[in-house]
Point group: C2
Chain length 524, copies 2
């Protein structure tokens, strides 16, 4: 048992194992915790001042919100959707559903039961996303808790413990312990040249000791926080042997596990009971036959007194002459349509790059993870599958759907693989975590969002950092936020600072509606 | 904005504010994370070898498990319960229910709706408690997630920020930031006398920087993890101003927030849909009319060929002559019954002291916490109420039941207050956290477990530390585990190392059943 660590050990181990290791992003842009604020107020009075003909292009969340609010305000709304289904990247895959990936069309053959679904796109609603939550309340979408982080889920890294998976909680408790021990030692040393009172030292050490579960000598000797080696109920619980710091640092997960509960995964997360598309259904039920499916927009032509939208449906061209357009078509597709947008608008549209994201899922014949004390949460794997998610719902039922890969960020491993290769890859990596994984799972589905028909991209990329947009980018954003010709409102998370979240899509629609409402007010 | 901190500042602040502050226990004995292990296997073959008459005294979880398994094995089982209700400290309070606290009998007048309940005793099932989970599965008790820790819930301490509540996430992110800055500084200093390579320093600093969200200069200048001051979706998210370290350390919560996700609250927690007593109901449905209620045991007399149990029911004395007794009556009540136990057994029974615990709850007229982005989780208050729990279930419904006080540990503030005083106290403290709390809540119920009829105590106290029992205590435990006269099995969490958890109650029953099974086998 490696029970103590010198500062030098610690630094050497870090340098040896992590210097060259790539930093694995801690998540895929999970929602930060915004300041508590009220949900947006929509000025329904002004919004409905006079009836207009409005086309909403695309039925992603921003389009659905715009259509719903505009219809409610009394306008004549038509939604034009290229796909066979509404919701855009809010997509719950169930028995019989088509995954319309170009080059890899699949029909899902999960068993036909309500809890056997896969949220292939949006999957989590943070408690701080007030506006999408308000629509859940208003549309009667029942919510339940979503578990993102579980200490009993696994960390697996071929470089760590010879590839043997380790419980997240065991890994984390040990890393914290050694960190705290090192911290405590630094400060003890420091007393020599910066005299402090005995009481001060004692207080500080209590904080650090609690953080790392150090013993009274400020040494980390293992902790029951990492799990009991034996006992715990009828017998006294003995801590498991500590994993040495050198070993812990062999994995780049050292850089991320200590902040797993901070920031990105800070807020409580929720999911709609029965699938994320319950939200889509809520809107669609309100919009009724106002949505035209398999209707691909071909042209958007601005006129002095309105907008002409041309779309193809059932092999025929259709013309829609409206007063206003609310448009959530991805910008890179929009620039390819016939249009007469201004040069500045087109330049701004052309600036946005598109992100990539891949998810895969299996139906599990038994909920084998529950036999491993895992109920929800994420296993981290240092390999292209990156994550395995266990369902938060359907506890103790016979089967469940697990997310078997979530490849986000740059350089998609799975993109060019065939469906059979993708499935084999997910199986080969998953069985490093779970014995008999290959025998336990079936009916794999995969989705590369950047190859999905009518989308060909995932989150919009304005900038690669978490910093604010630079001045040029901010100018382009302003250009896209302003209604082109006073009649064409671009919406969607693509015109936000926090892409890939429903909340941003909702807020972009609300912002456009507020602008539209002011226009109507001024025109009156 | 207090953006940097010297080591000396840090230590001074700590000494000034925390030296005298009492350490507030981080929880009430929440379940540690045991080593993954299979649930107990019960040898049903031997257990049912020959039919015996068995009395189970008390219908707490251990009694119900024993009765259920013994009946299933074919024995003739009678359960004798002193109270009007089964379940012991598994007690879900709903509309019309009696809280039978001596000196403070109450009938609950919550509205009569399924989600308006209060788990006044057991409220959480950790994912690592395999045996109680197995019974949930077997009895068809539907489970849902329970949220224990929420970064959007509040911390309120009269000494901190002038008593103004602060979000848990804001407090935590700031404390981590300053801790990391101090840590990073210590190590930079250390480079001087312990040369390390540039790469090593860089790697270590990445870990520390991620932990605290330090800037590139290793300074903590506030973090969006603490919440956005503004923006976050359509506009760039700006971090809130950092709360100074001196201020953070004014509260004893500094000692506990950094390990809130460790150990005690490590595992995922769950609750039965509809109330914890669904588990009790599951057992009771199986036992049918084998349970006698309002039947107070008066004597337990060991004989050479069996046990005579005398109980009072409906003003009459009843005699029950059985072959064996499984007994979960609290030891301090058991010693007061007529008995002929051996001196050693009585001495061991007399050793166990009883813990105290108080809980209070209100019905909320609206789910005001959801308007504050809170969905489940715990607000921490440095005052006798200690905690406010928000319900994990019933999201977005009109009303909900909140736990308004959970006073555990020693020195019960609420015990000797009248019901009106208890309610007023909970209101006065709660409104320091939530504006209009007093107007928002109604129909308070309270329960002091150490004054509950037929219980008069909560968790058994074997030892005051988390250390193992000393040799004398271990001997007393052994005495109580062994069946007295080969016929009287003491069960319950009271004969475990991890009291106040259903898992321990189940395991104590399983241990007794295993011993009984071996006896039957040897007798055969």
């Amino acid at each position: 048992m490696k029970s103590t660590v010198s500062r030098r050990d610690f630094l050497q181990a870090l340098g040896a194992t992590m210097g060259a290791g790539a930093l694995i992003a801690a998540g895929s842009g999970l929602g930060m915790m915004p300041a508590p604020a009220a949900a947006t107020t929509i000025d329904h009075g002004h919004l409905g001042r006079s009836k207009r003909r409005i086309a909403v292009l695309g039925s992603g969340i921003s389009g659905l919100v715009a259509a719903f609010e505009l219809q409610r305000a009394g306008h004549e709304v038509t939604v034009v959707e290229a796909s066979h289904r509404p919701g855009g990247r809010v997509f719950t895959v169930r028995h019989g559903d088509l995954i319309d990936e170009i080059g890899n069309r699949q029909y899902c053959d999960f068993d036909d039961e309500p809890h056997l679904y896969f949220n292939a796109g949006a999957a989590r609603i943070p408690s701080t996303h007030l506006n999408i939550l308000r629509y859940c309340r208003e549309l009667g979408v029942e919510l339940e808790m979503f578990i993102n982080e579980s200490k009993t889920a696994w960390i697996q890294d071929d470089n760590l413990l010879g590839g043997k998976p380790v419980r997240n909680g065991e890994y984390t408790a040990n890393l914290r312990g050694f960190m705290a021990e090192l911290f405590a030692k630094s400060l003890t040393q420091a007393e020599l040249d910066a005299p402090i009172t005995e009481g001060e030292t004692e207080s500080l050490m209590a904080v650090i000791r609690n953080f790392g579960d150090l013993d009274e000598d400020l040494i980390y000797r293992g902790s029951v926080r990492a799990g009991y080696a034996s006992g715990g109920f009828l017998e006294h619980g003995s801590p498991r042997e500590a994993i040495g710091l050198h070993e812990l640092l062999r994995s780049p997960f050292a850089r991320q596990v200590l902040q797993a509960d901070e920031g990105e995964t800070g807020p409580i997360l929720m999911q709609p009971v029965g699938g994320m598309d319950r939200i889509v259904k809520g809107f669609v039920d309100q919009l009724g036959d106002r949505i035209r499916y398999r209707a691909a927009v071909q042209a958007v032509m601005m006129k002095s007194d309105g907008v002409d939208v041309t779309y193809e449906q059932g092999g025929k061209q259709h013309q829609l002459s409206v007063d206003y357009v609310f448009n959530c078509i991805p910008t890179h597709l929009l620039t390819g349509l016939d249009n007469n947008f201004s040069a500045g608008y087109l330049q701004a549209l052309g600036h946005i790059r598109r992100g990539e994201a891949y998810k895969g899922a299996f139906q599990a014949k038994t909920r084998f993870w529950e036999q491993e004390d895992i109920y929800g949460g994420i296993t981290w794997v240092n390999a292209p599958i990156k994550q395995i998610w266990y369902p938060t719902h359907g506890i103790h039922r016979r089967k469940g759907i697990i997310l078997a890969a979530y490849d986000f960020g740059h350089g998609m491993h799975f993109t060019n693989l065939t469906q059979a290769q993708r499935v084999e890859d997910m199986l080969a990596q998953g069985e490093k975590v779970h014995a008999n994984y290959r025998q336990q799972v079936e009916k794999g589905v995969t989705i590369a969002w950047h190859r999905m028909n009518h989308m060909l991209g995932c989150a919009a990329r304005w900038t690669d950092s978490y910093r604010d947009l630079n001045a040029d980018e901010a100018h382009l954003m302003d250009t896209l936020i302003a209604p082109e010709g006073g009649r064409h409102f671009l919406i969607g998370d693509q015109v936000s600072r926090h892409v890939a979240w429903q909340e941003s899509a909702v807020l972009s629609a609300h912002r456009a509606l507020a602008t539209f409402s002011r226009q109507l007010e001024m025109a009156a």
